[in-house]
């Protein structure tokens, strides 16, 4: 008997382009960045004054910024979320604005910024019966969570998992990234010859992953398949990626093996593409090592919405599923002149692609790497 396939049956998100997948997709296709001057806190002393934030989020409200993102998404979706699903929440800092307030104004209890409190709130919003778990693995948090959800479905431990992801632009993280000299002083330019750092962004979203069998039984529409996954660690450095890209290449090979497909079946790469010199160079080495026979259409969305940290993998999965549906590779926003190593891989224009398989990858602090193989299912497979 063959292992159950893990399919995405529902998803939604909020990004600096606005609420919903259409807003994000159209924003990326427009080629215009959502990275703008930041007015949430004073940025005078930092490397940059820009980030990609969601205009509707307001500080000083009773709800944290994360909850302001999640409430509209999950309230709308709660009717379609099965109560018996496993909840996996993926984040790096969660409601860190609560901790900021406590330290700055001694108003709130910092314990309320603990991740466990956020998990309870998300459980409440989703209507799921059991409390769920949190998965955190730096900037691979949500792609790792999707990988774990899919693995649980394939092994029949679960037949339905809701993965929720969120992270915000806060003074807390902004000051930290600035101290590491990781920020571009203007806007991130992934894979550009003159790239000089990342731009921070914020986002939240969810994907509902189900066994294909249950999805068919419940007559759910199938958006795409999580066909394979690979999680690795460089075991090399806390803040810098392994220069040779071997850890990421290993994650991609594991993912392809898990999906039982060869490299030449892949149609497109959804890159991590932060815009830092070292990350993008490392990724290109990994891509060339795994896909040695030639170039593949590759894009990064971080020039559009910034680096959304723990939410990045989930947002990129949703965008990749849309890209598979449209058979269209979105442009790499802010790209002007491709780096020599990325020449022929990335583009400033949307492009079509044939093979309906995308490898979506992420990497993060501590050397963590993730790769997901995403597939569009054609009518015959449904």
């Amino acid at each position: 008997m063959h292992a159950p396939e893990a399919v995405v049956v529902a998803c939604d998100l909020i990004t600096p382009y606005g609420l919903g997948i259409d807003a994000c997709w159209n924003g990326l296709l427009s080629g215009k960045t959502a990275i703008n001057p930041l007015d949430r806190f004073d940025t005078d002393v930092f490397q940059t004054k820009k980030a990609a934030t969601i205009a509707e989020l307001k500080t000083g409200q009773s709800d944290s910024l994360v909850m302001q993102m999640l409430k509209p998404l999950l309230k709308k979706a709660s009717a379609i979320i099965p109560k018996d699903a496993l909840l996996i929440l993926a984040t790096t800092t969660g409601e860190i604005d609560i901790l900021e307030k406590q330290v700055l104004n001694a108003k709130d209890n910092a314990d309320e910024s603990a991740l466990g409190c956020l998990l309870s709130k998300v459980q409440c919003l989703s209507g799921i019966r059991s409390p769920g778990i949190i998965v955190s693995a730096a900037c691979t948090s949500s792609s790792s969570a999707i990988a774990q959800a899919s693995a649980m479905i394939r092994s029949k431990e679960r037949d339905c998992v809701l993965v929720v992801a969120c992270d915000i632009v806060s003074e807390f993280v902004f000051a930290g990234f600035s101290s590491l000299m990781a920020l571009d002083k203007d806007t991130a330019r992934p894979f550009d010859k003159n790239r000089s750092g990342l731009s921070l962004g914020e986002a939240a979203g969810f994907v509902l992953v189900m066994s294909k069998e249950r999805a068919i039984q419940e007559e759910r529409s199938i958006i795409g398949e999580i066909a394979g996954w690979g999680l690795t660690n460089d075991a090399n450095h806390m803040t810098g990626p392994s220069r040779d890209g071997s850890g990421l290449a290993l994650a991609m090979r594991k993912a392809l093996r898990s999906a039982d497909i060869s490299e030449d079946t892949v149609g497109c790469i959804a890159a991590h593409g932060t815009g830092t010199v070292y990350n993008d160079a490392m990724e290109m080495k990994a891509f060339k090592s795994v896909f040695a026979s030639g170039t593949l259409p590759t894009y990064s969305i971080k020039g559009g919405i910034g680096h959304t940290m723990g939410a990045a993998g989930l947002v990129e999965t949703i965008v990749a599923l849309r890209s598979l549906r449209e058979k269209l590779v979105p442009p790499t926003v802010n790209l002007r002149i491709a780096d020599d190593e990325a020449e022929g891989w990335v583009s400033t224009e949307p492009d079509s692609f044939d093979n309906p398989v995308t490898v979506s990858i992420n990497a993060g602090f501590g050397g963590v790497n993730s790769a997901l193989v995403l597939k569009k299912l054609d009518e015959q497979q449904l």
């Binding site: 955190s136 693995a151 101290s179 963590v368």
Partner: protein, 190 residues
């Protein structure tokens, strides 16, 4: 799946279960020195003094568990071993340390070395760098029954063949317990 080694650290004592070791220590510095002198750390831990307390405890507990299990490791010859951890509050104390320091110094310059520990997965990353482990790395928070849930989660990773060996730990600033879990068929040859 079997548990092939367990290392633990409590207030003033540390030990290994299989080897039935229980030894006193006074503070984290003395714990580090003892593990180094007893060759439980097979080589020095780079930058140990700069780690946050949870990272120090993670490295020490990991070394004790690997010693108990008889697993050799090397930073040069990396292994496909996974590492997962849990606790009750993520990295709340490190978050407070970092942000209070930033505010107290006038909100002008954050300290990168404190910032890097504001991720719940950072202690695991320090441990994986030291031990040379290239498998999955995940911090997981369970709402209750932390240790049974952790072991069950590790068992899932092993049974799904995402890694053949897992270091699974529950760690905070004051105490730690770390398990080495392996697929049963892998133990006969080791």
């Amino acid at each position: 799946m079997i548990i092939s080694g367990i290392g633990w650290i409590s207030k003033g004592k540390y030990g290994c279960v299989k080897k039935a070791v229980c030894t006193d220590y006074t503070d984290i510095k003395s714990l580090h020195s003892k593990l180094q002198n007893e060759s439980i750390f097979l080589y020095p831990v780079k930058n140990f003094g700069r780690f946050d307390m949870t990272s120090k405890m993670s490295c020490c507990a990991g070394a004790l568990a690997l010693h108990d299990a008889g697993v050799k490791y090397s930073e040069k010859h990396k292994q496909d071993i996974g590492i997962i951890s849990t606790n009750t509050d993520g990295c709340l104390k490190s978050n407070l340390n970092y942000f209070r320091d930033y505010v107290q110094t006038g909100r002008k310059l954050a300290r990168g070395n404190l910032f890097i520990y504001t991720l719940p997965s950072s202690p695991l990353a320090e441990a994986s760098i030291h031990f040379g482990f290239q498998g999955p790395l995940l911090y997981i928070m369970f709402p209750q029954k932390h240790i049974p849930s952790l072991l069950q989660y590790a068992e899932g990773i092993i049974s799904r063949k995402e890694a053949s060996t897992i270091l699974a730990m529950k760690v905070d600033e004051k105490k730690a317990v770390c398990f080495v879990l392996r697929r049963e068929e892998d133990t006969s040859s080791k």
